[in-house]
């Protein structure tokens, strides 16, 4: 079966591909990726035309002014990784508390856990 128009030569988009894309987004103060810091809570991908992507981030602070900047950067990284015309949504989840358990194993070791 032929690939849908506009999607030819586009690798299959899955959450791991998008997670890799989000590794390029760094917290500006710490210089570590939002994936390593455990800010990425959920990545939903719905195949179709257009492709629909919804990413949920867990903020570390209720009053950090850089949160919206991270949302903007995450959206840009996802747009760069997805086919043109994809619908990208990046949301913040204020109900889930960020804890150090969310850090990647490498960062946990680096920070002395």
């Amino acid at each position: 079966m032929a690939a849908p128009a506009g999607r030819r030569n586009t690798p299959a988009m899955d959450s791991e591909t998008l997670r890799e894309a989000l590794r390029q987004v760094a917290d500006p103060e710490l210089g570590h990726s939002i994936v390593e810091l455990g800010l990425v809570e959920c990545i939903d991908v719905q195949d179709g035309s257009p492709l629909q992507v919804r990413v949920t981030l867990v903020p570390t602070s209720a009053t950090c002014p850089m949160t919206d900047l991270l949302v903007e950067d995450a959206r840009a990284a996802l747009q760069a990784a997805c086919p043109p015309g994809s619908e990208i949504e990046v949301a913040l989840d204020w109900q889930t508390e960020w804890t150090p358990d969310r850090l990647s194993p490498a960062l946990r070791t680096r920070f002395g856990w």
């Binding site: 959920c42 990545i43 949920t56 209720a62 919206d68 204020w94």
Partner: protein, 382 residues
């Protein structure tokens, strides 16, 4: 459908209409105008400029230098950062900035002083109360946390400082304003220390240190002389605590602005410790060191943090993305050198050195602004 992680919680905020960038920049300009209005009085204090009958170097501007800097400039700047985070409450920093402009106007033209001073005092009190409200909203609608509570105590210290200034008690007001800045910074740094394991004694010591500024303010309002040394002990304790636990200090070699911020943090902690030593020496009988201790606190500690924070805030406040450069460290070094000269001037009772330090402060500020402008231009060039 492909999914990873938990399903999104129902209370997810899927983006909300952001505050207009033009309004944010307008309030940022108000804050910077207040900073410029405050500079004249500060330079007269240090002997860089002669006092004048009217204008930004008039006697009232000299007396109100601290109020303009703390209640005006920092009140507007810090609350503007919270407004960006919460996407509400733009009137809070706007009132702080307008109060600063009114007081700067009153200082320059004494004929309008009385009503303008009263209006500035009212605006500053309302603004500080608004900042307390913004923190309460963040806790209520998002999440309460220790760092948030510490920053909220900082806003309460600002409110107390502004009310004490309006009541004609500038000495106690200064402690309120210093508590505002110290607690705001301490709260922000405490957020980052959640990245590292803290021993029980470290967590408990932080609680004691964070409670100190408001307790010290209470002692000062009660007229107890112990407030002065208690304040500087708290500063020394916080400097040591952050030097021991702040993960930002592990980023000295990091690329991007993270490395710059780490260098600024080191500078800030050194100056906070030095200010505390000078303040304690003043309390132990070297009274001539009292003013320079405060000067090192404001210029060395606070402005080092400002230099470290500014490149991170420009994108969110003004939509500008400065490209990382090590030139910012040159401005930081100039700031540090000028603070050292200020200390030498106080110890050696040399007014010439004090004036030289004041000129150095201005050069450092102007140099840092130039570095930021250069970095923004480089960022635009891609």
């Amino acid at each position: 459908m492909v999914s990873a992680g938990r399903a999104p919680a129902p209370a997810v905020r899927a983006g909300q209409r952001p505050l207009a960038r033009g309004l944010l920049v307008g309030v940022l300009v108000l804050a910077i105008a207040t900073l410029l209005a405050a500079l004249g009085g500060g330079l007269v204090r240090l002997g860089v400029l002669p006092p004048a009958q009217r204008g930004p170097t008039a006697g009232a501007a000299v007396a109100w230098h601290g109020a303009l800097m703390c209640a005006g400039f920092f009140g507007a700047l810090i609350s503007l950062e919270r407004v960006v985070a919460l996407q509400r409450g733009l009137a809070v920093p706007a009132m702080a900035g307008l109060g600063g402009l009114l007081l700067g106007w009153a200082a320059a033209w004494p004929a309008v002083a009385a009503p303008a001073v009263a209006a500035a005092g009212l605006l500053w009190a309302l603004s500080a109360a608004g900042l307390v409200g913004l923190y309460a909203w963040a806790g209520w609608r998002r999440a309460w946390s220790l760092p948030l509570a510490v920053q909220m105590m900082g806003a309460l210290a600002l409110l107390a400082g502004n009310l004490l200034w309006a009541a004609g008690r500038p000495e106690e007001a200064r402690l309120g304003w210093a508590g505002f800045l110290l607690l705001t910074i301490a709260g922000e740094r405490r957020e980052l220390t959640r990245l590292v394991p803290l021993p029980r004694w470290g967590r408990q010591l932080f609680l004691l240190l964070a409670a100190s500024p408001l307790m010290v303010l209470g002692l000062a309002v009660a007229g107890l002389a112990v407030a002065g040394p208690a304040w500087w002990l708290a500063c020394a304790g916080l400097a040591l605590w952050l030097a021991r636990f702040d993960p930002g200090l592990r980023l000295l070699g990091a690329v991007g602005w993270a490395g710059h911020t780490a260098v600024c943090l080191v500078s800030a902690l050194v100056w906070l410790a030095v200010a505390a030593m000078l303040g304690l020496a003043a309390a132990l009988g070297q009274a001539q060191l009292g003013p320079v201790a405060w000067h090192v606190f404001w210029v060395g500690f606070v402005f080092s943090m400002v230099f470290g924070h500014a490149p991170l805030m420009l994108p969110v406040l003004a939509g500008l993305r400065p490209r990382p450069t090590r030139l910012g460290r040159v401005a930081l070094a100039l700031l540090g050198a000028s603070v050292a000269v200020r200390i030498a001037g106080a110890i050696g009772a040399a007014p010439g050195l004090t004036a030289l330090a004041g000129a150095g402060h201005v050069l450092a500020l102007a140099g840092f602004a130039a570095v930021m402008a250069f970095a923004v231009r480089q960022g635009r060039a891609g």
